[in-house]
């Protein structure tokens, strides 16, 4: 059951464009894996292919013994994979608490899980507790990111996929979010796939990283090694 997320030679195309061109990836359990690269490198497509919103043209994706390509989008979350979409993906018309409730709604033991989960999330992100009955569109960018992560945690996932969590956030907020991810991984053994354009802050918390360029993996390894490789940094990471 501990075999985590494994991608093998995945090809995803949009018309004639190969957004993913033979990506293989073995995500380490209980660790944070950063997926880095420039705009258009295929980072978001990678996540959308894993969670089934886009179906690949070739390759295989497995998670804990399940074939994800044969799993409908709606069932992915029940396998323990939670997704924090790009642009936060909170449902702005719903209240904070309703957004959080949605996270646990698929569970058969949702009554108990919702009560426990809400308590945990509110403790982790106190600003959400204060605004629980407000519509999500009244939240600030950082609060929305907290809400999206909190909602993902409501499903008690073993794998958390995050798409550009630092986008548009102040550095201080980004640092807080990254610290939270670090703690979740260290204390609860959560596996995290962190897609980021902000390579510097992603590498600061990640255990390992892969760098995508034009749909291909051009480098992978321990986060510290990649951060120390000046050539790579200049070529693909822009810092």
């Amino acid at each position: 059951m501990t075999s985590g997320l494994v991608l093998d030679n995945v090809v995803t195309t949009y018309g004639a464009v190969r957004a993913l061109d033979g990506v293989s990836l073995d995500v380490a359990d209980g660790k944070i894996t950063a997926v880095l690269g420039a705009n258009g490198a295929g980072k978001t497509t990678l996540l959308r292919t894993v969670n089934g919103l886009v179906r690949p043209a070739a390759g295989s994706i497995r998670f804990g013994g399940h074939d994800l390509l044969a799993t409908p989008v709606e069932r992915i979350v029940t396998l323990g994979i939670a997704h924090v979409p790009e642009g936060r993906g909170v449902i702005t018309e719903l209240t904070v608490e309703e957004n959080l409730r949605l996270g646990a709604l698929w569970r058969s033991d949702r009554r108990r899980e919702t009560v426990n989960g809400l308590a945990t999330v509110y403790e982790m992100f106190p600003p959400l507790a204060e605004r629980r009955d407000r519509a999500a569109d009244t939240l600030s960018g950082g609060e929305r990111q907290m809400l999206a992560i909190g909602r993902a945690l409501m499903s008690r996932p073993s794998l958390l996929l995050l798409d550009e969590p630092s986008l548009g956030l102040a550095p201080r907020i980004t640092a807080q979010i990254m610290a939270t991810l670090r703690r979740l991984s260290a204390e609860d053994g959560l596996t995290v796939v962190l897609v980021e354009q902000n390579a510097r802050s992603a590498l600061s918390v990640a255990d390992s990283a892969v760098i995508l360029n034009l749909g291909r993996v051009v480098a992978s390894g321990a986060a510290d090694d990649l951060a120390g490789d000046e050539q790579l940094r200049h070529a693909y990471l822009g810092f």
Binding site: N51, L53, V73, E74, R75, I76, V77, T78, H83, P85, G89, V90, I91, T92, E93, L94, E98, R101, L102, G103, L105, W106, R110, R151, S155
Partner: protein, 294 residues
């Protein structure tokens, strides 16, 4: 007193328009589709009830419940069979498909029940109330209509706001992709949404059919659809409460114009009201957002 009476009876009619508007709003909000077939669908379910009550001697309540269930099933089937396949296509396609369904339902109703007019006897009296010697343009039947529609609206409110399935339905409507990632089976909820909307429409059909002798025939509900659409647009097209407010407003305006100008122009007023609203505030009078979602 005349003016007040006109407002009362206009508002009572408006409650029915609000129900039709609500049926349109529920579908527009979840799919961005305007269901032009709604008039035909509620005509068909009303005929089913009429057939049971007047041709087969069933009890009024049995007829009403069967009409509601028929609406639920019809709405769900329409979503699955006709709407699902054209999802994501050009926006003109659902307009044409729902209009096609309108024509088809009216034709089939004409084949089964004929094109002449029929009367649906109301369960409650249409004789107006008196307060002292003063006549009030409001009858037990209209009291029933108001209570039934408001009851359904409250029930839907509770369903949407306070149950897990309602939360799923709202999530699917507002952000289907995120909802799917959270494990919500958006497709099923859309089907349910169409079913519920058609059920509200079915209620409106049976209720209004009883208010006038000789009301029902296959084309009788075209005007009701336009009135419901106008009410929905006045209310902002995506707001259930706006649908209620829009329905009341349209009902009152219609009654006042009928009385003070001429009843002959009844169906023309609807066009004028719609035109004025769309020219002044295309997003509706009660919409929360000023942005037009088209």
């Amino acid at each position: 007193m005349t003016f007040l009476n006109l407002v009362i009876s206009g508002a009572a009619n408006g409650v029915v328009y609000a129900a039709v508007a609500l049926a349109l709003v529920l579908i527009w909000r979840s799919t961005g589709i305007l269901n032009f077939a709604q008039g035909g669908m509620l005509m068909f379910t009303t005929f089913i009830a009429w057939d049971l009550v007047h041709l087969h001697g069933a009890n009024y309540w049995v007829g009403l419940v069967v009409a509601l269930l028929a609406g639920l099933v019809l709405g769900a089937v329409v979503e699955r069979v006709l709407i699902r396949p054209i999802e994501g296509g050009p926006p003109i396609n659902p307009v044409i498909v729902t209009l096609g369904l309108l024509l088809l339902l009216e034709a089939v109703a004409g084949m089964i029940w004929g094109s002449g007019v029929s009367s649906f006897a109301p369960e409650f009296s249409l004789n107006d109330y008196h307060v002292g010697h003063q006549l009030i343009l409001f009858s037990p039947d209209y009291l029933f209509i108001v209570l039934a529609v408001l009851g359904v609206m409250v029930a839907l409110y509770v369903l949407f706001q306070h149950t897990p399935i309602g939360l799923r339905m709202r999530a699917s409507a507002f952000n289907p992709e995120v909802a799917r990632l959270l494990g919500v089976r958006v497709g099923r909820l859309l089907t349910l949404g169409w079913g519920l909307a058609a059920m509200v429409g079915a209620l409106a059909g049976v209720l209004i059919a009883g208010t006038q002798p000789g009301y029902i025939n296959p084309n009788a509900f075209d005007g009701l659809l336009i009135l419901g659409f106008t009410a929905a647009v006045v209310g902002g097209l995506d707001s259930p409460l706006g649908a209620l407010a829009g329905g009341l407003l349209v009902g009152v305006i219609q009654q006042l114009l009928d009385n003070y100008v001429s009843i002959d122009l009844d169906s023309f007023y609807t066009f004028v009201v719609l035109l004025v609203v769309l020219m002044l505030r295309p997003s509706g009078l009660f919409s929360r957002t000023a942005v037009r979602r088209v």
